[in-house]
Amino acid sequence: MSGPNTDYDPVEVTPLKADQVEAMREAALAAIAAAPDLDALKQVRIDHAGDRSPIALANREIGALPPQARKDAGQRIGQARGAINQALAARQVVLEAEHEERMLAEETVDVSLPTTRRRPGGRHPITLQSELIADLFVAMGYEVAEGPVVEAEWLNFDALNLGPDHPARTMQDTFWTEPADHHVVLRTQTSPVQARTMLTRKPPIYVVCPGRVFRTDEYDATHSPMFHQVEGLVVDEGITMAHLKGTLDHFASQLFGDGITTRFRPSYFPFTEPSAEVDVKCFVCRGVESDACRTCRGEGWIEWGGCGVVNPRVLVACGVDPEVYSGFAFGMGIDRSFMFRHNLEDLRPLFEGDVRFSSAFGTEI
């Protein structure tokens, strides 16, 4: 029907007749309703609402009508186009929703598939145990002191009241270094850090020193030439054994659980007087019906470490006035604490570097 209107009738234009327009509208609406998907609807839009659709062509004929007839025809066409567009839009929404639903269904995955691309890392349990202990004391107001592992003999022994002829020196089998007359050792204890602390800080002193220490012990299930200790030192006015007991009771309950306390037994350490061995109440059986307990071997108590009131001789060598200040010191094996806290019977896995061991503890304990 393109081209000039050769069949010119100023009054009658066939496509604009009401029944014709109604037929176009019906055909369009039927096609829209029948469109099964978005592609089909696109074609329907071209066929029934596009520039070359019957209704668009009919619209062009309006100008041929006498002015009095244009209004009617325009209204008729406009209403028909409005209805078609509305139906198109509505169908579009419905088909889009159907499409999305289908697409999402197709994208379904098996969420139970493994997702680990990289193995998890982990920190060494002794590092974690040291940090945990340090944090317990930092929470009480202590600071963490440090010192070298290759240490001056004087700081490792003499300053701590372990003179060259002290029998207790043979209790600690020391690694010595060459040349021998340079008096340099691998520290046998973290106590030289205590001496360093007193030499570099003024009381009141409240410190803990976790660190590596060395003894010439052959490596086996319960001995290692290198192991870890944590020592604590307090120097203040009026410090007594009761403060030592209170501190270790608190430490024990924080590390092993509420209600776990300590027991002191007389002992001997050159740098403390009086000295005590510290036992911690077995946190597994709590000393009740302990006969079958593997952790404490039926004793109800576990040997934990040593402690005592700082020997005034040590205070003097480290520049602290024993007339004004007194102090206490304690020391525990970190490896040992870890072993019985985590039920490890052979210490060697700590130093073998097997990733299966360390990664079992993650990054916090």
């Binding site: 691309r117 002829d165 207790a168 030439p225 403060h243 002992s267 003097v316 060598a317």
Partner: protein, 828 residues
């Protein structure tokens, strides 16, 4: 110290019904820690009785052995009263003898269950026992024949053999050397066990006065040997056996019975704590002289070792020369033998420091030395010698010579001022002065005065030298278990230092990146450094040597963490863990060749200079961080192929740590062992080298049992921490639009990408916001010996939208500078 309970109770009474555990619990709480309670019959159960051999018929066997078919009267112990038929392989008995018989149902040490069994054509119902079978020493010379009056057949044999004797093993601390004796332990029982009484001191005895008739003794060094007592027993029967009770007690105490003369000296040492030496008196030539050894003198000691002596050693000599290392070990020439009929008994007090030094110098540990170097009661020499003489005469049939030699006098104990309230002040308990005095007297001190007490320790307590030492004596008797539990109140702390926090952060960062922390021993050997492929002049070959390493292969303190961590990685691979990523932080030892570290006085604080000199004498000990990775960095799976570890993973590990500390790392090529010569990065922060990373040389991989392409890094963590950014400035962002420009540059393959990037960065000027290398490729399109680097540049101004062409101009400037600096040519 192992002490038979019966021996202790010979010298002190405890209330009837007191159990062994009650005694050891109390002693543990006052300072003698229980190690173990042993009983020789502990592993024997069931009927073990006296039997009388009624008949024995020798029966030769085909195998050449002869067995005895015996009938043994065991009374009613077998339930029937009939003689028991037993096959026995021993021959050292005859009918009528009393023997030790274990009946069916009994179990001997080692879980050896006894039953009635057919053997050698008889039904043997039980066993006649030897000492070894009962766990009483290793005497296999036949069965035990009991004395004729030992008991009636069927009686339990345990008490007769001491099998029910309990022996208590104590851990003895150095300050309780007096407890290395029955005397000392009995005294501890007296003060520790409630209701204990009637201490019977074994050295409280009447001793004959000294005279001039004894063996002549000259002590030239009275400081080294303040007291020397000599006694002599003649006409002694060298074949006389040691009485059973003595054998049992010595054995229980952990010593080996040897002969009556030697056993008696050991027995008295165990009883009194005073080591005694016995000489074969007929082999001693002339007067005994005690002096220090002279340079070049030698002695063959009882253990057969030829020793060259030190001028510090105390020696006992006679006309023939040196006959003993005083207080430590006797010499061979005067050793008591099985033909000795005269014994010269020496009970001497020796200077403890000398004893300690001599023992250490000659590496001798002996029961005598152990006591002498810890300090023995100097007042008991005469009594101990007299006790030895008494026992030798009683059991060896000799006579005591009338001569008694006593040279020197026991040193007196010092009087020490002890504040009466010291124990209360030290313990935090309310201990009165009266309580303190009572406790001090209980442990043997003499106490006078009030407020400030004048305390004289007993002669067996040389360890009590300082006022504070006495407070321990008081507090342990009041009870360590009574010390109250009081928390002190520290001043406000400052928390962890920044360095401590950052070390934790470094570890957490690497764990987050998938690395597992390991801890290795810091010992290393030259072979380990060879395995790393270090050149002869590599500074890491400068090591601190250990004088007494556990193994000759690891005789030094390491200067690098790499040998330890590579070996740890190799162990993991060996265990079948093919993908390994590990890290270690630890100090390394870098000698400064300074020193020595002075032995400073201890009666005052060192000066600042002295203290600084100590530190300067020590090697540098920086904290290093090392990582090793091998296998796949990203596992393969349904998502795709695995991604193997590559050299850059080692660099990236260090960059992650640095980034966590707010630092940026630059990398440049370097050749350094143990890395692949073309794949080693020297890592720097702000121009300072902090370490190296890259792929490990294939030869090194092989040496450590690792597959090729293993990667590793080692950096100085202290340096990183020292440079870490503390206060980071808040950033500001431009909200104007970004302009993006990509460039692809072709350079010689040898030009480092980092150089190209820095030229681009500089040339692009202030408008450059970021630059990213997003592709590197080589191949035909680029040309032989060339590579193409593709960069994405982003430009933005802080205060305005860029004008048309402004970004392109900046890009061109960047390319121009890169061309000038690196010969880069822009690809069309």
């Amino acid at each position: 110290m192992k002490a038979p309970l019966s021996w202790i109770l010979d010298h002190v009474d405890v209330p009837a019904g007191t159990t062994t555990e009650e005694i050891t619990d109390r002693l543990t709480l006052t300072g003698l820690k229980l190690e173990a309670i042993e009983s020789p019959g502990r592993d024997i159960t069931g009927p073990l009785v006296v039997g009388r051999v009624l008949t024995m018929e020798p029966e030769p066997q085909k195998n050449g052995k002869t067995i005895n078919w015996c009938t043994v009267d065991v009374g009613d112990a077998n339930g029937t009263g009939e003689p028991q038929g037993i096959v026995c392989g021993a021959h050292n008995f005859e009918p009528g003898d009393l023997v030790v018989t274990v009946l069916p149902g009994g179990v001997l040490p080692g879980g050896f269950a006894i039953g009635a069994r057919k053997t050698y054509g008889h039904l043997s119902a039980g066993m006649i026992c030897s000492a070894a079978e009962l766990g009483l020493g290793d005497d296999h010379d036949g069965i035990i024949v009991l004395p004729a009056d030992a008991g009636a057949p069927g009686e339990d044999v345990r008490p007769l053999l001491g099998l029910d004797e309990e022996t208590i093993e104590f851990e003895i601390n150095p300050d309780r050397a007096y407890a290395l004796s029955i005397r000392g332990i009995a005294r501890e029982v007296l003060v520790s066990v409630e209701g204990a009484s009637s201490f019977r001191d074994p050295v409280l005895r009447d001793t004959p006065p000294a005279d001039d008739a004894g063996h002549p003794v000259v002590v030239e060094d009275a400081e080294g040997c303040p007291v020397f007592v000599a006694r002599r027993v003649s006409g002694f029967d060298p074949t006389a056996p040691t009485p059973d009770f003595m054998v049992r007690r010595i054995t229980a105490a952990g010593m080996r019975p040897i002969s009556l003369a030697v056993d008696v000296t050991n027995y008295v040492m165990l009883e009194t704590g005073r080591p005694i030496h016995g000489y074969d008196a007929d082999k001693v030539r002339g007067a005994i002289v005690v002096r220090r050894a002279r340079d070049g003198e030698r002695l063959k000691t009882l253990d057969g070792t030829e020793r060259s002596l030190d001028p510090g050693d105390l020696v006992v000599t006679d006309d023939s020369g040196i006959i003993g290392l005083g207080g430590v070990m006797g010499g061979e020439t005067t050793e008591i033998s099985d033909s000795t009929t005269s014994v010269l008994v020496e009970a001497a007090h020796w200077d403890a420091v000398s004893m300690f030094r001599t023992g250490r110098r000659h590496r001798i540990t002996s029961e005598a030395g152990k006591r002498n170097e810890r300090g023995v009661d100097p007042t008991v020499c005469e009594a101990a010698a007299d006790r030895v003489v008494e026992l030798l005469v009683e059991h060896g049939g000799g006579q005591a010579d009338p001569g008694v030699t006593v040279v020197g006098t026991a040193p007196t104990m010092p009087v020490i001022e002890v504040p009466g309230d010291l124990a209360a002040r030290v313990s935090g308990m309310s201990i009165t002065e009266e309580q303190s005095i009572a406790c001090l007297r209980a442990v043997g001190c003499d106490v006078a005065g009030s407020a400030t007490l004048a305390v004289t320790p007993p002669p067996w307590r040389p360890d009590l030298t300082d006022a504070q030492d006495f407070s321990e004596e008081v507090i342990r008797l009041v009870g360590y278990d009574k010390v109250p539990s009081v928390l002190p109140t520290p001043p406000s702390g400052r928390g962890l230092t920044r360095s401590q926090q950052l070390r934790r952060r470094a570890g957490r960062t690497l764990a987050g990146e998938g690395f597992v922390e390991v801890v290795n021993f810091p010992f290393v050997g030259v072979a380990d450094l060879d395995a790393l492929g270090l050149t002869a002049d590599d500074p890491r070959r400068d090591l601190l040597q250990l004088s007494n390493p556990l193994s000759a292969e690891a005789g030094f303190m390491t200067s690098t963490l790499l040998p330890g961590i590579l070996r740890a990685a190799g162990r993991n691979v060996g265990h079948g863990t093919t993908d390994v990523a590990i890290f270690e932080t630890g100090t390394v030892t870098l000698p400064r060749h300074s020193g020595p570290a002075a032995i400073l006085p201890v009666d005052r604080r060192p000066t600042e200079e002295e203290f600084a000199a100590l530190d300067a004498a020590l090697p540098a000990q920086p904290l290093h961080l090392a990582v090793v990775a091998v296998g796949d960095a990203v596992a393969g799976g349904w998502w795709g192929e695995p991604r193997p570890v590559v050299w850059s993973d080692a660099v990236e590990a260090v960059r992650s740590v640095a980034a966590a500390l707010g630092l940026e790392v630059t990398a440049s090529s370097v050749e350094l062992a143990p890395w692949h010569p073309g794949r080693c990065a020297e890592l720097s922060v702000e121009g300072e080298v902090i370490g190296h990373a890259g792929e490990v040389h294939p030869t090194v991989c092989k040496a450590f049992g690792l597959p090729k392409r293993t990667v590793a890094a080692e950096v100085d963590l202290d340096l990183l921490i020292a440079r870490s950014v503390h206060l980071r400035q808040a950033p500001s962002f431009s909200s104007y639009p970004v302009a993006k420009e990509d460039v692809a540059l072709v350079v010689d393959a040898s030009v480092p990408a980092a150089d190209v990037e820095s030229a681009l960065r500089e040339g692009a000027g202030e408008l450059l916001e970021s630059i990213r290398l997003f592709d590197v490729f080589t191949g035909d399109q680029v040309g032989e010996g060339k590579k193409s680097l593709a960069y994405a540049l982003r430009f933005r101004a802080p205060d305005r939208t860029l004008k048309e062409g402004e970004a392109a101009a900046a890009r061109d400037a960047a390319v121009a500078l890169a061309a000038e600096r690196t010969g880069a040519v822009q690809r069309a």
